[in-house]
């Protein structure tokens, strides 16, 4: 009985953490790009489904080509390289091209117009994905199946979700180290405060812009790649992820890494507990939370930068 209860709570906790992992990878980029570059990119969240679709294609191709010939370890390593390296790298490259062509003309515009123009971009990206991968939902459970599940009293849980949580924690730690400890990280933070001053110091702010932008997109793609093995993905989800990304941004505070971590953990837990105890309100609770935070503390939990 007690064991049952503990295992129940453990499952909710794990669900919350893996949900938080996806949200963190999705929202951090949006938050950093807005905080550092002062660019409000509604289309940011579309890079998550893009990463997921690409991951699906790569996983299926791999399984078809070499699935039988590789051992467990070999296949696992191949999947890790594909999902953790190749997908983020390819999507970053796409993001880089889009930065040069589609996003650059929007930097100087007012926030309102940035929101609208990037709404246009997300519509285009959604259809481009539909065109390439057809409108069908995709899934690629091979990596998750490979790792299998572990048994808890009263249920099983996929190891892949545990891996997702660990990888995300590692990413969050690395980012934290980058911003707090490295020179480039400190310059980036300084740019958010006063870009002109940094630029006067002889630092190429444009190249740092690009780096932040590309890192943000790579994170979203990684989120998609990690999300896919345990869930299925449709192009329509791009529009759903957008508001979740904004929920992270708003609840955490614009441009704050600590805020993004705290917000994704909060939303992840609210969703997990909501889904368990009041399934009807699961998603509604997230937007309620978002509205309440905005009313009480418009700059978010950790936001210091005024918009």
């Amino acid at each position: 009985m007690v064991q049952q209860l503990i295992s129940e709570q453990l499952v909710i906790l794990l669900n919350g953490l893996s949900g938080a992992a996806t949200l963190f990878l999705l929202g951090t980029g949006l938050s950093l790009i807005y905080g550092m570059l002062n660019f409000l990119n509604l289309a940011h969240a579309a890079f998550l489904p893009l990463g997921a679709y690409l991951a699906a294609s790569l996983v299926h191709a791999t399984v078809d080509a070499v699935g039988g010939s590789l051992g467990f370890v070999g296949l696992f390593v191949v999947f890790l390289v594909l999902l953790l390296v190749v997908v983020p790298a390819v999507v970053s490259a796409i993001g880089l091209v889009m930065e040069r062509t589609a996003f650059k003309p929007l930097y100087g515009l007012e926030d309102d117009y940035q929101l609208l123009a990037t709404f246009g971009i997300i519509l285009m990206m959604e259809d481009a994905m539909k065109f390439i991968w057809s409108g069908e939902p995709v899934s690629a459970t091979a990596p998750s199946n490979l790792l299998g599940t572990f048994t808890l009293p009263g249920g099983t849980y996929p190891w892949w979700s545990v891996l997702t949580i660990l990888v995300t924690a590692l990413v969050a730690g690395t980012l934290y180290y980058f911003f707090e400890e490295t020179r480039l990280g400190k310059i980036t933070l300084a740019m958010a405060e006063d870009e002109e001053a940094v630029s006067f110091a002889g630092i190429d702010t444009r190249s740092i812009h690009l780096k932040v932008f590309v890192i943000g997109i790579a994170l979203a793609a990684l989120g998609g790649a990690l999300y896919l093995p345990t869930a299925s993905m449709t192009t329509g989800l791009a529009l759903e992820f957008v508001i979740l990304a904004f929920a992270v941004l708003v609840i955490g505070g614009l441009g704050s890494l600590k805020g993004a971590i705290a917000a994704s953990l909060t939303i992840g837990m609210v969703q997990a507990y909501g889904a368990y105890y009041v399934p009807v309100l699961e998603l509604a609770l997230v937007f309620l939370l978002m509205a309440v935070v905005m009313l009480i503390k418009p700059t978010g939990l950790f936001g210091e930068i005024e918009a």
Partner: protein, 346 residues
């Protein structure tokens, strides 16, 4: 005014211009009323124009906030869909079939939603306003999807053909007769009423107050305008008329689902129509709604990827012509006038 001063000439030109455009407006209006009887007009065309008018109502209302008050909302689907759902649910649960009761009911519900979420949202401006509206409106979307016992979930609600002033035109005239003979005119009249009322409001001291707030909220506050309260009033007015558009959409389509009327992408589309037409002009959103529906209906016939085309148009408009179609129109008019005025000397 003496005739030989510059001002006199300018007023004269403006009057002649004003007469010209009001004549064009009158002609368009007569054309709109005669539209179902024009040669070559079928059910499809009437349906299309009806849809343009329904969205034009909502886009005109949207512009009260974006163009006149300077607030971008990503939550107008709550008003549009709130009203459409109110109509559908009143029919389903209370058996009300009278259009003349259903319209005020839908508008009232949209207005109530606007009173509540407007009150909350106007506590912030700019991005925060847009996102707060987005969050609150999406709350309504999510609840509608989840409460399927009441709302039918993602399947939505069917809207049966209403009676109008007690008469069931569907049995009398059949669908084509109902659509072209009466429903179209209901929508057209709602459109005309919206234009007249919003024009009056926007050219009244109320509208000027909103413009003052848009141009410089600090100065507006300094001269004693309660800025937040006026933004709230503007949100309510915008919500009420968006609701009227939503009700018209519901009657015309006969079916509403959360994704067609309550999703945030719908709010984005209303913003799109307004920007496409031109936020700086009162009539801009009408052009925008017309262009949107026409581009969409053409694009849908050509390709299933019409979202791509809409997104591209929106992107190009904002990058190259932020003042929209009206901006292009004004530039052409200016060119023509310059060319005519200076034509002899060049």
């Amino acid at each position: 005014m003496s005739q030989d001063t510059k001002t006199g000439v300018a007023v004269g030109i403006r009057q002649r211009f004003g007469n010209l455009s009001s004549a064009a407006g009158a002609l368009l209006l007569v054309g709109a009323f005669a539209f179902p009887y024009l040669p070559g007009t079928g059910q499809y065309e009437v349906f299309l124009l009806g849809q343009i008018l329904a969205f034009a109502i909502a886009a005109l209302a949207y512009n009260v906030l974006l163009g006149y008050t300077g607030l971008l909302s990503f939550g107008h689907a709550a008003f549009f869909g709130g009203s459409a759902y109110a109509v559908g649910l009143a029919m389903q649960f209370y058996g009300i079939t009278e259009l003349l009761l259903l319209i005020p009911f839908g508008v009232l519900v949209a207005g109530t939603i606007a009173v509540v979420i407007g009150f909350i949202s106007v506590r912030h401006t700019e991005v925060y306003y847009a996102l707060l509206m987005l969050a609150l409106a999406h709350l309504i979307y999510v609840l509608t999807v989840k409460m399927y016992t009441v709302t039918g979930g993602t399947d939505g609600v069917a809207i049966t053909t209403p009676t109008i002033a007690g008469i069931n035109y569907l049995t009398v005239w059949g669908y084509a007769g109902y659509l072209m003979g009466i429903l179209y005119y209901v929508i057209l009249i709602a459109f005309v009423v919206t234009v007249v009322l919003l024009w009056t409001f926007m050219h009244s001291p109320f509208g000027l107050t909103l413009k003052t707030i848009r141009d410089d909220p600090e100065r507006a506050r300094a001269i004693g305008i309660p800025v937040r309260r006026y933004r709230w009033y503007a949100s309510i007015m915008s919500g009420v008329f968006t609701g009227l558009g939503g009700a018209m959409y519901a009657f015309l389509n006969g079916h509403v689902t959360p994704d067609t009327v309550l999703h945030w992408a719908r709010s984005g589309e209303l913003a799109f129509m307004t920007v496409l037409g031109g936020t700086g002009w009162f009539f801009g959103p009408i052009t925008g709604a017309g262009a949107f529906i026409l581009i969409r209906s053409q694009a849908q016939q050509l390709t299933e990827y019409w979202h791509f085309m809409m997104g591209l148009v929106l992107f190009l408009v904002i990058v190259f012509e932020p003042e929209g179609i009206s901006g292009i129109g004004a530039r052409i008019r200016r060119r023509v006038r310059d060319w005519r005025d200076g034509g002899g000397e060049k």
